[in-house]
């Protein structure tokens, strides 16, 4: 049998399994549960797109998430999606791809920003039907920038400007923030030491209209269940 193809197979000796479990998790057993009607996408570390990052980076590869999003849309047993974010940003186009996929799902979606939802994490967070941020989480809003060799300065500038505009448009279309306010935050001086932009924390993100509410997993689950209920009632109404 091929070794790589059997990650789930149990070992024969029970004491060996127990020792391995303690080594791996620091505990002997984990709770069991049936299939959930709510699925979860965790977006952690860098959002990895066209370029593979060096192995010391923790990344979320968008090519892994896109098929999952298709499966979530297609599977009738899945009724809702929670997106958990703790990301430092990453590839603009990969992030926008994920945001558009989440925004175009027909099923209810809720996001929770934990720790950080920086840069390209902002459009992903606002892509859902309803967004939460925990009180200690922060989101950095700053201009899209480029490092390295630039050939053709005006063209590169225009390309970057358009790319930035796509991010801005997505955010203002999917959240309650005004374009003016978002641009002000993005180009603010004196907030970040080595960059222009703003770092908004928990409540501030809500007061700017970027995120809908301050809250954690309890609030997120309550909200998604409420949205699922509404969604079901709408479907019923259409059938009658």
């Amino acid at each position: 049998m091929n070794k790589e193809e059997n990650p789930g197979e149990k070992q024969n000796n029970p004491s060996d399994t127990l020792v391995e479990k303690i080594q791996a998790l620091g505990q002997t057993n984990v709770p069991q549960a049936g299939d959930s009607n709510i699925h979860v996408l965790t977006i952690i570390g860098q959002v990895e797109g066209h370029m593979q990052l060096p192995p010391q980076n923790k990344t979320t590869k968008y090519e892994h998430l896109l098929p999952q999003l298709v499966a979530i849309e297609q599977n009738p047993k899945i009724e809702g999606l929670i997106v958990l974010l703790n990301t430092v940003g990453g590839d603009v186009e990969a992030g926008l791809a994920l945001s558009e996929m989440i925004a175009s799902l027909s099923k209810p979606t809720v996001s929770v920003v934990l720790g950080g939802g920086h840069s390209i994490g902002v459009p992903i967070a606002v892509a859902t039907n309803y967004s939460f941020i925990v009180p200690t989480a922060t989101m950095t809003i700053h201009p899209v920038r480029l490092t390295g060799l630039v050939i053709g300065v005006p063209q590169t500038f225009e390309y970057l400007d358009k790319m930035q505009d796509r991010v801005i448009q997505f955010v203002i279309n999917h959240s309650k923030i005004e374009e003016e306010t978002f641009k002000e935050l993005m180009f603010a001086k004196g907030n970040l030491t080595r960059d222009i932009g703003t770092n908004v924390i928990g409540k501030e993100a809500v007061s700017h209209g970027l995120i809908d509410e301050v809250g954690g997993i309890k609030e997120a689950l309550a909200k998604i269940n409420e949205l699922i209920k509404e969604n079901k009632q709408d479907e019923k109404g259409l059938l009658q």
């Binding site: 990650p7 479990k21 998790l25 069991q32 549960a33 999952q68």
Partner: protein, 68 residues
């Protein structure tokens, strides 16, 4: 990245040059797994990639569990 810890950075970054296991991605039973191959020929599950939260409770899919 910002570290907020009383430990010395030397302690945190110790063994940075250690040989990293070879990493590969495989799909099994419709789920994606990130698998590490160690120099001694051992395979261990590094990460499960699934949107179904109950998969993460399956004890056979816990990170660090060996493959046979």
């Amino acid at each position: 990245m910002i570290l907020y810890t009383p430990l010395m950075l030397e302690e945190v970054y110790a063994n940075k040059d250690e040989v990293k296991p070879e990493r590969s991605y495989v799909t099994h039973e419709g789920k994606m797994f990130c698998i590490d191959k160690y120099p001694n020929g051992e395979y261990r599950l590094a990460q499960l990639i699934s949107s179904n939260p109950s998969d993460y409770l399956n004890e056979n899919y816990q990170p660090g569990s060996p493959l046979h």
